[in-house]
């Protein structure tokens, strides 16, 4: 394992961003004026394409806020977030960016309660011009991939917590995102279900998708290429477990 100082940036020797970089944060700040809280404080970070990053830290250190910023669900107070070297603020539509580039797995799953499993996956696909039949087939395929082919027509309140998480993962993969962001995907799961989800993430990572996962679990973090530790809204330290090769 290699340890880096705070604010380490993945860069080439001349200081330019690496061509393999899929997302870069530069001096990003998120300040909440209501409670006068600075949840993210001058974070700079580069993420390589295909990299598996775990973000860890104590509660309230800004992990979820950071993930929301990376997923363009929230906007920074200052600083720049670039996706493939394009500032998000300059993109014509952040909604398009979210639908096409990002897959988000929420901590509380956030499935739509009145839609079945297969409908929850399909609702994410309305943003693309799928034909109805194609949409249904893809949703079935994704649910089959996450081991939910036997529960297509079940409502979320009929699913176990582990099953809901798997549906949430299938939904996040619906539009073939470039980056999968997951906020404590095993936080609400027992060890068996947590292991199942971990296995899914490994398979996703093997397909060269970029993964950024917030976790408290060592089981999850030990699978990551790099662990970023946050403290008080800043990067405290980074640990490279598997260096990225060009």
């Amino acid at each position: 394992m290699l340890q880096h100082d705070s604010h380490a940036v993945l860069s080439s020797p001349n200081g330019q961003a690496d061509n393999r970089c899929i997302m870069r944060l530069v001096d990003v700040v998120r300040h909440f004026p209501n409670g006068e809280v600075t949840a993210v404080n001058q974070i700079s970070l580069s993420i390589a394409e295909g990299e598996y990053i775990a973000i860890m830290g104590p509660s309230g250190c800004g992990k979820s806020t950071l993930l929301n910023l990376m997923g363009a669900i929230d906007q920074p107070t200052s600083g720049t977030i670039l996706f493939r070297e394009q500032p998000l603020s300059k993109l014509p539509s952040l909604d398009r960016f979210r639908s096409s580039a990002i897959g988000f797995v929420f901590q509380a799953f956030h499935l739509l309660p009145t839609l079945t499993a297969i409908e929850n996956v399909q609702v994410a696909m309305f943003v693309k011009p799928w034909r109805v039949k194609e949409r249904v087939e893809r949703a079935k395929h994704l649910l089959d991939t996450v081991g939910m082919s036997h529960r297509l027509n079940a409502l979320p309140n009929r699913l176990s917590i582990g099953e809901r998480q798997r549906v949430a993962i299938a939904r996040a993969l619906a539009n073939e995102p470039s980056i999968l962001l997951a906020d404590e995907p095993t936080g609400n799961l027992d060890s068996r279900n947590g292991a199942e989800v971990l296995k899914l993430f490994k398979q996703i990572h093997l397909r060269k998708m970029t993964l950024v996962v917030i976790t408290h679990s060592d089981e999850v973090s030990k699978e990551a290429d790099r662990i970023i530790y946050l403290k008080d809204g800043k990067i405290d330290r980074e640990v490279i477990q598997r260096p990225q090769t060009a």
């Binding site: 909604d95 839609l115 996040a172």
Partner: protein, 375 residues
Amino acid sequence: MRFEKLVLHNVLRRKLRSSLTIIAVAIAVGAAVALVGIANGFRDSFMDFYRAANVDIVVTRTGSQRRLTSTLDETLAQRMQALPGVKDVVPGLADIVSFTEANLFVVPISGLIPETHIFEHFKIARGRNLKLDDKKAIVIGVELAQSLQKDVGEQLDVVEGEPFQIVGVFESKNVFESGSILMPLADLQVLMGREGQVSGFSLSVDDPANQAAITKLTEQIKALDSGLSVRSTSEHVESLTEIQMAIAMAWLTSTVAIVIGTLGTLNTMFMSIQERVREIGILRAIGWEPYRVVKMILCESLTLSLLGGLLGAVSAIVIVQVLSRLPAVNGLIEGRIDWFILMQGMLIAISVGLLGGFLPAVAASRLNPASAIQS
């Protein structure tokens, strides 16, 4: 799953609230359709009366929008008859009586000259028609006969202390006539103290299709007396105060109903958004664009309003049919709800849906995904 299914699904989530909203819209649309239909029926009844009697021109006193207040000299008829192109001139006196014991307060009574062509379209169901030498004889419409429980051979006090013999009961497709009384013009003039006076003249011309000839004739009639209003039957009917008031009241009441329906829909949609803030946040977070959220909310609102519109239109047709058969109405009201009025009703429904859904839709689309998810 189709987008439409998602919309329908959301509408059916809160069945009671959706039902109440649909009923509110149905009341708005139903009121508009029924009232406008009744007003149109009222107007068409007048038109039917003139059409059936082959009347092409109506002459009344200038400034009198109501037949009852129009007063003309009876002798004008001969002067108009002498004009070229005039086929027939029929004077008439109109008034209204009431039969309080039978709860009938608006019974039209017409004084006409018997055995003229204007009587030809009255189909005698029982008894006989009026004759020139009849004195204190009347014929009554079948609706009135039923309401008063009177028949041929019986006497009827047209006004208190003035009994008239019922010599015939007539049928008429014109709902206005079916509830009315016909008597000889001279008798009505005496009864009302208006000897030598008439309310107006109904003219039929030789060539109804010749508009130029009718226009010329109109000018010639006006030249006979400066106080004359000379109009085609359609112009005359449209100018009647009763018609204008009926249509104005219909639309005024409809407007109030529409505002209430819109407010009801607005309230429902805002409540729906409030309950689904997190869901909408999730949809935005997974990439739904604001316009797609707007589209979903508007479609839900339109679904409610269109269902309400359909229910309202059907209810209006049924209610108007029922109302027109009530004895107290005496056949004076007949709703004429045609496709045009039904289309207007559906347009009202669409407007209610769009107006009631627009603000909530925009509000929903502007929700911040991050804070909405945490709500």
